[in-house]
């Protein structure tokens, strides 16, 4: 699995996202620039310039025409993917930590930070897919977090729910049309931040990563914890692979946060776990600092990781990866073929 190193950012990477076809990869970093790359060879397609602060988040719509970004300059910006033109800027009183288009691209959510005098919110904007159209100035609705602030959020299948991950380790389920709270659960250890929340390809379940050193899979319908992946390091990110039943986890402690140097060893690796059996399968080394973000190619042919070290590493899976199966899976698959 020979990685391609994407050098173009000068500061730590905050989020990476593949488009729906997987031919493009978008990355945001603390250096104020958004980059677009060809995932197959790592060539840079272009940059999106205009943000005045660290970028926290990026997402691309299903047709790869619109790009949304959120930043420490308290704005969400909408860009034309092809030209790099900024189509819309929405201003907020605080930083924007996460943006995500709905599965059909008609809605965009944004998670805003809690700061003195302002509660954390999730805002939802209608999106007109027409590049030349004027986008709505005001959100359809705003969810205000009275308790623990949301750090991440995502859309379920059919825009039915907005799922939120919180600073206190809880996960919330909101009505996708009205923004009303349906339920919340203490999915992770109390007071350990949920750092990432990514949907499965069909958005019927999702994975959360937490500073409590675990990642979990929950069902979007009832927030039931279905799977738990236990690691030995605080996690910043987790993703579900398409095609194979794996999950990829990333994290690691900064050197300055660790008291003994020995415990730092081996912490900056992407970890592969079996999604169903919850056991670790392997690790991929490479980064010189914690992994802040991992994303799986939507066709399951590779993955990319972005690190505190400012690098994006793009990996294309080899044949042994696709061939790998547990004994139990081999038997089940053989049985299915007999039937």
């Amino acid at each position: 699995m020979r990685p391609i190193l994407l050098q173009g950012h000068e500061r730590s990477i905050t989020q990476i996202k593949y488009n729906r076809d997987g031919d493009l990869l978008f990355s945001t970093a603390k250096d104020h620039v958004v980059c677009a790359w060809y995932s197959v060879n790592g060539e840079r397609l272009g940059t999106y310039q205009g943000h005045q602060g660290a970028l926290w988040t990026v997402d691309v719509n299903p047709t790869t025409t619109l790009l949304a970004t959120g930043a420490a300059d308290n704005t969400i910006r909408l860009w034309e993917v092809k030209t790099g033109r900024c189509l819309k800027t929405w201003d907020f009183p605080t930083a924007v930590k996460r943006v995500e288009f709905s599965d059909d691209g008609t809605l965009l959510l944004g998670v805003t930070e809690m700061r003195m005098g302002y509660l954390g919110t999730v805002v939802v904007f209608p999106i007109n897919p027409d590049i030349e159209a004027t986008q709505a100035a005001e959100p359809l609705f705003t969810i205000t977090m009275s308790g623990s602030k949301a750090t991440v959020a995502a859309w379920s299948y059919l825009n039915k729910y907005i799922i939120t991950g919180h600073e206190d380790g809880s996960v919330g389920q909101y009505d996708g049309k009205s923004g009303e709270l349906i339920q919340d659960v203490q999915a992770h250890e109390p007071d350990f931040l949920i750092t990432d929340l990514q949907m499965a390809p069909d958005r019927t379940y999702f994975i959360t990563a937490s500073k409590d050193k675990t990642a979990k899979i929950l069902s979007v319908d009832n927030l039931k914890v279905l799977k738990t992946y236990v690691t030995d390091t605080p996690l910043n990110t987790a993703t579900i692979t398409a095609k194979k039943d794996f999950v990829i986890l990333g994290g690691g402690q900064e050197a300055r946060d660790v008291t003994t140097t020995s415990s730092r060893q081996g912490k900056f690796e992407a970890r592969f776990y079996h999604k169903i059996f919850e056991s670790e399968i392997g690790r991929v080394k490479g980064h010189f600092g914690p992994l802040n973000t991992v994303a799986c190619h939507p066709k399951g042919v590779g993955y990319a990781s972005g690190g505190e070290d400012g690098y994006v590493r793009v990996h294309h899976f080899d044949k042994p990866y696709f061939d790998f199966m547990f004994e139990v899976e081999k038997m089940a698959s053989a049985q299915r073929q007999l039937q």
Binding site: L158, T204, D221, L226, P320, F322, D323, V328
Partner: protein
Amino acid sequence: EDLYEAESANKEVIDKRKRQLDEWLAWREKVEKQLREERAKEGLPEDSREETWAGEEEGDTVIE
């Protein structure tokens, strides 16, 4: 005796995994069916994204 112990431990792991696999597949079947029905009710096509991608490269052989 050691061999017997190792084998029974092994069997436990395999049984647990079998159970996990069966449970997961049953849950997926239920959820996927429900999603298809809900999409149909809203007049949406069955999500064809994965079908269009299928068959691009698929390895059925097994190494462990």
